[in-house]
């Protein structure tokens, strides 16, 4: 399979998958239980979900390892099983997708706050990420996706951990921003400009944002990223800002709406587009169509 970075280099836009958590819940994951517990007990569910997204047209399928760093798993007493949790997740997706899609291994925040603001030192967080990265890369991940970060230092540690295990594996890195009157910031106060500079410095191959925002804000975020980096961009929007309707969580953005917004994202120069919270295989299917149309349109225009 051609390397993802070279495909993007040729101007292709790649479609990633959507949310996993909600699909796990409809398959019996109790609320409050760690989503990664499934990796030990029911990896076949991960396989099924990966297949759903593959059939919907995703070319990048993510593992269920967002919270699978030992530090984060320690909240559930699962730190000792971190290696198996990460390996099982990679193997389950591989069984489902083979070589038909890129296998992207997710790595979310440790849940700890770095000193001097919090109580955890950088070495502890780095060691935790290295354990996770070794398992993910060792089990055969094609890409590492460091995601939903708020603290630039923690994001850098995660990238550093991936790089310490493999110098060649493509690393994508996303942070989660809030719109404020003074522009976009993470909750830790990181601007998009700073994110671009520091993530690039740490060795990320793709940069961008996921979670926290619906499609419209994500287009604005993508444009802001484009101002500060020439690296390919990755965007995974939520299906809008969730509302509670008679006790049920409801994400307002329909597959059709998100698919139309894909045109805007491609127009803003985004190379990898996927979905975050609230997105489903139906969203990805609708987005697939638009990506294909846009790619055909692009091919129709002679290069100058």
């Amino acid at each position: 399979m051609e390397a993802i970075t070279s495909r993007i280099g040729h101007g292709q836009v790649l479609l990633a998958d959507g949310a996993i958590g909600s699909l796990l819940m409809t398959r019996g994951l109790p609320r409050g239980a760690p989503p990664e517990g499934v990796n030990l007990e029911h990896p076949e569910i991960l396989e099924e979900i990966a297949r759903l997204y593959l059939e919907a047209g995703a070319e990048i399928i993510q593992t269920n390892t967002f919270g699978a760093s030992p530090l984060k798993l320690a909240n559930y007493g699962l730190a000792g099983q971190a290696v198996a949790i990460n390996e099982n997740a990679v193997r389950a997706v591989r069984r489902a997708v083979g070589e038909q899609a890129y296998l992207s291994a997710s790595c979310g925040p440790s849940g700890r706050i770095l000193q001097p603001y919090g109580d955890t030192d950088a070495e502890t967080i780095l060691a935790s990420f290295i354990t996770q990265m070794r398992a993910l890369i060792g089990a055969g991940a094609d890409i590492i996706c460091v995601e939903t970060m708020s603290d630039i230092n923690e994001a850098q540690l995660a990238i550093q951990a991936a790089r310490s295990v493999s110098t060649s594996i493509p690393v994508m890195a996303t942070m989660t921003f809030e719109a404020t009157a003074r522009g976009f910031f993470t909750i830790m106060g990181v601007t998009i400009e700073k994110a671009c500079r520091e993530l690039e410095k740490a060795g990320a191959d793709l940069l961008g944002s996921n979670c926290g925002n619906g499609s419209l804000q994500m287009v604005a975020i993508a444009k802001e990223f484009r101002k500060f980096t020439s690296l390919p961009l990755l965007i995974q929007a939520n299906a809008g800002v969730p509302e509670l309707r008679s006790g049920q969580v409801y994400y307002p953005e329909t597959p059709e709406y998100m698919a139309e917004m894909v045109r805007e994202l491609i127009g803003a120069g985004v190379a990898v587009i996927g979905g975050c919270c609230g997105t489903t295989p139906d969203h990805i299917r609708a987005m697939r169509k638009v990506v294909d149309e846009e790619m055909q349109h692009r091919q129709g225009i002679p290069e100058n």
Binding site: Y117, R182, F185, M188, P242, L244
Partner: protein, 213 residues
């Protein structure tokens, strides 16, 4: 009382080492501990909470200010106790999901301690059962719950329902807060109060705790 303003400003700038000497200075100037707490430390923390809410400052500043607040409270605590400033009662507090987004809850916990409550902080990912059990075991008057994600909000309703089921409604009051939560939602699930921000949450807990007595 220039010194109280200095304490507040020092706390706002997150100067953990700077606050205790100022607090001691205020004491030597003859200001009573309760006033130093209310008009120095808590006043400063209120400003921090407000600035955070409007994105003037971010989490790192809040965390440093909180450390400075605790450093100041360490100086005052023994004096407040010996002065016989009694506890306003116990409050169980927790976030219904887990990550660094529990800062809102942490801020409220700090302010409640400052306001004279004994706070039992259950941390993150707290289940309905855990909230209610902790409140019963600790003889708490109020349960404070925070949520940042809509997906975890239903836990708040479970707590209210569980209290009702165990005939504890009225004996243990509930207050909720967090970005996706509203006064409307509090009404919908039958929570006793809603805190829009830190200051409102603390005021709400005071009112509820007094009603339980």
């Amino acid at each position: 009382m220039k010194i109280l303003k200095q304490i507040a400003q020092c706390l706002e700038s997150g100067d953990e080492a700077g606050v205790p000497p100022l607090v001691r200075q205020a004491l030597t100037e003859g200001i009573v501990p309760k006033t130093i707490l209310d008009d120095g430390l808590i006043a400063g923390m209120n400003t921090v909470g407000e600035k955070f809410r409007v994105h003037d400052i971010f989490l790192p500043d809040v965390l440093l200010a909180a450390k400075a607040m605790y450093a100041g409270m360490d100086v005052l605590k023994p004096l407040l106790l010996s002065a016989g400033v009694s506890s306003r009662g116990r409050v169980v507090i927790g976030s219904v999901q887990g990550d660094l987004h529990d800062i809102g809850k942490n801020l409220v916990a700090i302010m409640l301690k400052g306001a004279g409550f004994e706070v039992i902080d259950l941390g993150n990912d707290v289940s309905a059962e855990k909230f209610v059990t902790a409140a019963k075991n600790n003889d708490a008057r109020v349960i404070g719950m925070s949520a940042l994600l809509t997906t975890t909000m239903p836990v708040m309703k479970e707590v209210v329902d569980l209290l009702k089921k165990e005939s504890l409604s009225g004996k243990i009051k509930t207050i909720i807060g967090g970005a996706p939560v509203s006064q409307n939602y509090a009404g919908e699930i039958g929570a006793d109060a809603y805190g829009y921000d830190c200051a409102q949450a603390v005021a709400g807990v005071k009112k509820l705790a007094a009603a339980v007595q």
